[in-house]
Symmetry: C2
Subunit: 87 residues, 2 copies
Amino acid sequence: AGDVAAGKQKARQCQTCHGLDGVAKIAEAPNLAGQNEHYLVKALGDYRSGARKNEMMSVIAPNLSDQDIADLAAYYAAIEVTVGKRP
Amino acid sequence: AGDVAAGKQKARQCQTCHGLDGVAKIAEAPNLAGQNEHYLVKALGDYRSGARKNEMMSVIAPNLSDQDIADLAAYYAAIEVTVGKRP
């Protein structure tokens, strides 16, 4: 399973685009705060294997271990998010 | 540009997995509430073109028009989300 504290350290390499708070800093990047942990693990795995491609992620993800992926997913999923009003 | 009200109607086909509130109802699906509009348009376009593949989305997305994609992205991006405490 992922280690949230370890994930927080590892998220430093993600913060330029995704923020440490999980709120995207660039228009192309998704918000990750409170995202579904299972989905994040799948997405990072797909970027690492090449099943999913992105200019940035295809360069970063291949360096991630299974533990890195689990920790990063656990961290971003653990950020509290409250869903408010719907349009 | 996307029409949020139209997107809300069209989101009925998404709610089983993503919820009308944008909170994922199945572990494999991502939360969409308050997601980055630009990212959602890109993701739906990639599922439609096949640049990105998923069991469900690869069946649904090819039926979406550019306006459908813009409306759905506008709707889910417009759902208010507050990011709270970080671990």
